[in-house]
Symmetry: C2
Subunit: 326 residues, 2 copies
């Protein structure tokens, strides 16, 4: 495959090519088009800490990086509006690498209705550095209806947990054996967990569904560092306690199978695994029936509680295990 | 001096300490408070490429990093509103390092009326990585009055150029000799140029002055990569040409002296040096007299021209030298 040095074509020409035919113009600074109350979500993803290019295709990484920052906006009930991307690129990366990453980013932006887009290319001494700043907005009339968080608000989770962590585990394991033998491993048995890690999805239109159903959550968290961290954040932000019922935590059959294969506790994967790209919303308890009826893709896994409860995981036997930060 | 590992106190406790007494609460995502038309400026600063910690005090770096992103907002006629900072920190950096960096950032935020602030701390394999996303807003009624860029618009520059580049040159030179001899160099003769590099300033209230004087520029650039790059950007954005008159480019006496000492062309420093942290605005020519009267801190250094002129530097002899990208 051709490898074109960015310094050879020039930074501006590289940017022009990346935007050509994308339907976007490169905006600096990036304007916010939606009216209403805006906010900025911001993520910094660094090679070697947040991703490993040995097993992460650049296109997938680009797609996932954009979801990672848009998820924070959805959790705050904002519709994505604009995105600014700044890349730090060491000499290892050629134009074709950046184009693959950008292709994934563009796909996510289109799917999620991002209206304005900005990109800058910066030199880096070491590896790839991805910084994303996304602005989202919501009508003030909608935000005014957001209820205050209250004791007994339901903890509602948008999907199953732990699969992405299992996928990461497979990739790390096969990386070691691949590095050792040089043989390309057969990963087909792990397709589902690998997809959870490499190609997470967020359904656009989530906020619209809340508004339409007249069920506005009091809080929202986007899960990228495990359920435990999100529950602790909720407890911290609301001043309430929280109970999560262990047997209510949704875990896929593939995650169970994989956990058995590698002899890992599946609850640990769900609580501390990370990369789930799911949402945890707190919903007023009086909306319970309406929520159940309208939001089949969510599971109710617990509820806010009195502050002195703290953050606890309730076992089927009724024991309350404190949730700790990692 | 005490060196506290961040991992020892925990990331959340470190964040709590950094915000304690700051007058800010750590917001994630960061809300935009001002109403009107918002936009996001975004900068990624990487150790080894954008700054050298051998001679840059962390507090100065923090202050300068914030100005670097707020400058882009001012150039777009936006008042700073919110700032999100994401730091990538390798194990080399202790809590006290981050606190010094943050102190500089807080000072800049306070001076420039930043209302909401967010900070995240992320692990990094290599060195310090600073990502900044700033939101600014402006009343729509003001932005509607911004004139279209036209031929003969004046190029107005907010101060002298090249000093920061000379300061950087001194620091790089003394770094080499310091590394060789271990002796702390005497930098007092270079105070002015060093300050230009290490402690640039932006006067808050610039946009208010434009509005009050009823002189809205058609375009604005914030100069961080030299005058040449900014003029090329203007030409690119407006579709016009531009003439810059060499003898009109303001250069301080210290910059002249330093250029002589190191036998460097002072015009090269001004055109391509970078780190100037000055503004270049295009102002309608019919506002010439009013602008001169109200904006003594600006110099008129040229004007927009017919597209076929391109971007040129006009010598005192009348020769037109094309301005190239570096």
């Amino acid at each position: 495959m051709a490898r074109t040095e960015i310094s050879r074509i020039g930074r501006q020409a590289a940017l022009d090519r990346l935007f050509e035919g994308s339907g976007y113009a490169n905006a600096q600074p990036v304007p916010v088009e939606r009216r209403g109350a805006a906010c900025t979500a911001h993520k910094l993803l660094l090679e070697g800490c947040d991703f490993d290019l040995v097993y992460t295709p650049l296109k997938h990484l680009g797609y996932k990086a954009v979801l990672c920052v848009l998820g924070e906006l959805y959790a705050a009930l904002r519709e994505p509006d604009s995105l600014s991307v700044a890349l730090g690129l060491s000499k290892r990366f050629c134009f074709e690498d950046v184009a693959a990453l950008w292709e994934g980013m563009l796909a996510a932006c289109r799917e999620h209705g991002v209206k304005r887009l900005g990109l800058t290319l910066n030199p880096s001494v070491n590896g790839l550095c991805i910084s994303l700043a996304a602005c989202g907005a919501q009508k003030r009339t909608v935000l005014e209806k957001v209820p205050a968080a209250r004791n007994r608000d339901l903890l509602c989770l948008s999907g199953h947990l732990g699969a992405a962590y299992m996928g990461l585990h497979v990739l790390e394991r096969e990386k070691v054996s691949f590095t050792g033998t040089g043989e390309q491993p057969d990963l087909s048995p792990y397709k589902a967990v690998l997809a959870s890690y490499l190609s997470p999805e967020i359904k656009p239109g989530l906020i619209g569904r809340f508004i339409e159903a007249d069920i506005l959550p009091s809080r929202g968290c986007f899960l990228t560092r495990g359920l435990g961290e999100a529950v602790l954040r909720l407890v911290r932000d609301t001043g309430f306690g929280a109970k999560v019922y262990l047997e209510k935590i949704p875990i896929s059959s593939q995650t169970f199978a994989m956990a058995e294969e590698i002899d890992m506790d599946v609850v640990t994967a769900a609580m501390n695994g990370g990369d789930d790209y799911k949402f945890l919303f707190t919903v007023p308890i009086e909306k319970h029936d309406a929520f159940r009826k309208e939001f089949h893709d969510f599971e109710v896994i617990g509820h806010l509680a009195q502050p002195d409860v703290g953050a606890v995981l309730v076992t089927p036997e009724g024991a309350e295990l404190p949730i700790h930060a990692l």
